[in-house]
C-alpha cells in the first residue's frame, strides 16, 4: 500500500509562548524551532522530561493551542493543509475526518452514557446507530469495560476506566493521523497491553501516530522513532 511510505504530518519551525496578561504580562516560552515529519504507519514518540512541553506540543498540533510561528502541515484528503493558518471551518473538518486526539484527561460530558459517548464520532459521520453501537461494543469489550457500565455516564468511573473510554471514543474511528497523550497512564498491565495492540493495529493499517508514553515498555512496543522535545528546547 502506498500509504506506508507517505508523509502524513510535517511540522516546521513551531514555536509557542504563553503570555499571561493578567499576571503582569508574564511570558512563558514553551518550545521553539520544532520540526519533524511522520509517515503513514510510523509512530513518533515525543520524549523529554516532564514539563518540557510535550503535551503542549501535542495540543498545538491538534490546534487546541495556538502557535506563535511555524507550520503544521496535515495531509487531509490528499492535500496539504497548514493547521496553524487554516480557517476554523477547515480545522473542524480535519478534526472530524483526519486528525484524532486522545487527551490525558477525559473531559466528561455529563449524563451521556458510555456507549453513546463512544458511538458519537461515528454518528456524527452519518453512520447508522445500530452499526455504530455494534462497533462501540466491540471496542469496549476489547478494553475490558464491563457491559454493566455501558449505559452509565463515565463521571463516576475510575481514572483507568475513564481513560479507556477516552481511548475507545477516538480509536473507534479510523483516523489517518492520531495524537496520543499518555494513553496508558492509569492502566494496569492487561489493559495496557490491549491498548498497545490497538495502537499497533492502527499503525499497521497506515495510521501515522504521534504519542507521549512515559512508560518505557509501551514506548518500545509501539514507537518507531523518537523526538526529544527537551533537547530541542536546550538547543534553542
Amino acid at each position: 500500500m502506498e500509504k506506508i511510505k507517505d508523509d502524513m504530518l510535517r511540522i516546521s519551525n513551531l514555536a509557542k509562548t504563553f503570555l499571561l496578561h493578567n499576571q503582569g504580562a508574564k511570558k512563558l516560552p514553551v518550545f521553539q524551532n520544532i520540526s519533524f515529519q511522520v509517515k503513514a504507519g510510523e509512530c513518533l514518540v515525543l520524549t523529554g522530561a516532564s514539563g518540557t512541553g510535550k503535551s503542549t506540543l501535542l495540543r498545538a498540533i491538534y490546534a487546541n493551542y495556538l502557535v506563535q510561528s511555524g507550520k503544521i502541515n496535515i495531509r487531509h484528503e490528499n492535500k496539504w493543509v497548514d493547521l496553524a493558518s487554516a480557517s476554523p471551518h477547515e480545522v473542524l473538518d480535519i478534526r472530524k475526518k483526519t486528525l484524532g486526539y486522545v487527551s490525558q484527561f477525559l473531559r466528561v460530558i455529563p449524563r451521556i452514557s458510555t456507549i453513546d459517548l463512544v458511538c458519537e464520532p461515528l454518528i456524527v459521520q452519518g453512520k447508522l446507530i445500530k452499526q455504530a453501537k455494534a462497533q462501540a461494543k466491540k471496542l469496549l469489550n476489547k478494553l475490558s469495560i464491563p457491559e454493566s457500565l455501558w449505559d452509565l455516564p463515565p463521571a463516576t468511573f475510575s481514572g483507568g476506566e475513564q481513560q479507556r473510554v477516552n481511548i475507545a471514543r477516538t480509536l473507534i474511528q479510523d483516523y489517518p493521523i492520531l495524537l496520543l497523550d499518555e494513553p496508558t497512564a492509569s492502566l494496569d498491565e492487561n489493559n495496557r497491553d490491549a491498548v498497545i495492540e490497538l495502537i499497533n493495529e492502527a499503525r499497521n493499517q497506515g495510521t501515522a501516530i504521534v504519542g507521549i508514553f512515559h512508560d518505557k515498555y509501551v514506548r518500545e512496543s509501539v514507537g518507531t522513532k523518537m523526538f526529544n522535545v527537551e533537547l530541542q528546547k536546550k538547543a534553542a
Binding site: F18, L19, L20, H21, N22, R59, A63, N64, Y65, L66, S87, P88, H89, V91, L92, I109, P110, R111, I112, E120, I123, V124
Partner: protein, 257 residues
C-alpha cells in the same frame, strides 16, 4: 468544500451615540455551532438581532445562502421574502420562551403553526408531525393539547425548539437558551440541543454568557467585549489557550464546581 451559510461583514450597529457592536466579521458553515460569549453590555444581543433579521444594522452586511438564489444580503430582500425566510429556513429561540410561543394556543398548534403557514392543509398530517416533534424534544404526548401557560420553564424552551425545527431550518439562533432554568433542567436542555444539532446537521449561533454552555455546545467561539470581537477561534482553543487579556480574564473567572 461546502458554501458559507451565513456571512457577517463589517457589521456595526449604533444606538444614537451608544455603540451596540462594531466591525463584526465572521462566517458560519452548515452544521457548525458558533458561540457568541460576552458579559452584559458586550453587544452580543445587538449582534444576534442584527444577524437574525430582527434589527437592521447601521452598517455592514449579513448574507445568507438562500435555497434558491444563493448568497443574498438579508436586508436587501423584500420584507415578505425575509419574513418567509425567518419562518422556514431559520429558527429563533428566544431567551424568554413567551416571546417565541403563542401562549394561548395548544402545544400541538404551536408546533404545527409553521407548517400551516406554509400551506399544510391536512389536520391528521399536521398533528402527526407535531406529535413526532414533541417526542423529539421529550415533551410527553399527553401535553399536546395543553396550553403553554401550564408548562415549566424547561418545557417552554423545548417547545420553542420544536416549534422552530418543524420546518427543518438550516440555521437556528439561540439567545441565552438556558438562562433562568434550574441546573438540572439546563443540563437536560443542553443535551437535547446537542443531540438535535448533531443529528440534524443544523448550524447554530448561540449567544450566552455561560462558558460552560459554550464548551458543551459550540465548536467555535467569538468573544465580545465593549461591542467588539476580541477573540475568535475554536471553542476548545479559546477556552484552553486564550490569547486576549479579556478572554483570559473571563476564563480564569469561572468558578470551579
Amino acid at each position: 468544500m461546502t458554501n458559507v451559510l451565513l456571512s457577517a461583514k463589517n457589521l456595526s450597529h449604533h444606538y444614537a451615540s451608544q455603540v451596540g457592536c462594531i466591525d463584526i466579521n465572521f462566517d458560519i458553515y452548515p452544521g457548525e455551532v458558533l458561540g457568541v460569549v460576552g458579559e452584559s453590555g458586550s453587544g452580543k444581543t445587538t449582534l444576534l438581532k442584527n444577524i437574525s433579521g430582527l434589527l437592521q444594522p447601521s452598517s455592514g452586511s449579513v448574507k445568507f445562502d438562500t435555497r434558491l438564489d444563493g448568497l443574498k444580503d438579508i436586508y436587501l430582500l423584500s420584507e415578505p421574502e425575509r419574513r418567509l425566510l425567518m419562518r422556514t429556513d431559520w429558527g429563533i429561540v428566544f431567551q424568554n420562551a413567551r416571546d417565541g410561543l403563542r401562549m394561548n394556543v395548544s402545544a400541538g398548534a404551536n408546533v404545527g403553526e409553521r407548517l400551516m403557514a406554509i400551506g399544510a392543509r391536512n389536520y391528521g398530517d399536521i398533528r402527526n408531525e407535531a406529535t413526532d416533534w414533541l417526542q423529539n424534544v421529550e415533551i410527553g404526548l399527553e401535553r399536546i393539547d395543553h396550553y403553554p401557560e401550564t408548562f415549566s420553564g424547561g418545557m417552554l424552551q423545548r417547545l420553542q425548539i420544536a416549534r422552530n425545527l418543524v420546518t427543518k431550518p438550516r440555521l437556528v439562533f439561540m439567545d441565552e437558551p438556558t438562562s433562568g432554568l434550574d441546573v438540572s433542567v439546563q443540563a437536560r436542555l443542553l443535551d437535547l440541543i446537542r443531540g438535535l444539532v448533531s443529528q440534524l446537521g443544523i448550524a447554530c449561533i448561540i449567544v450566552s454568557h455561560d462558558l460552560g454552555v459554550m464548551r458543551l455546545l459550540s465548536n467555535r467561539l467569538i468573544v465580545m467585549h465593549q461591542g467588539r470581537v476580541v477573540e475568535q477561534g475554536l471553542t476548545d482553543q479559546v477556552l484552553d489557550d486564550p490569547q486576549h487579556p479579556y478572554t483570559q480574564l473571563l476564563v480564569s473567572s469561572i468558578l470551579p464546581v
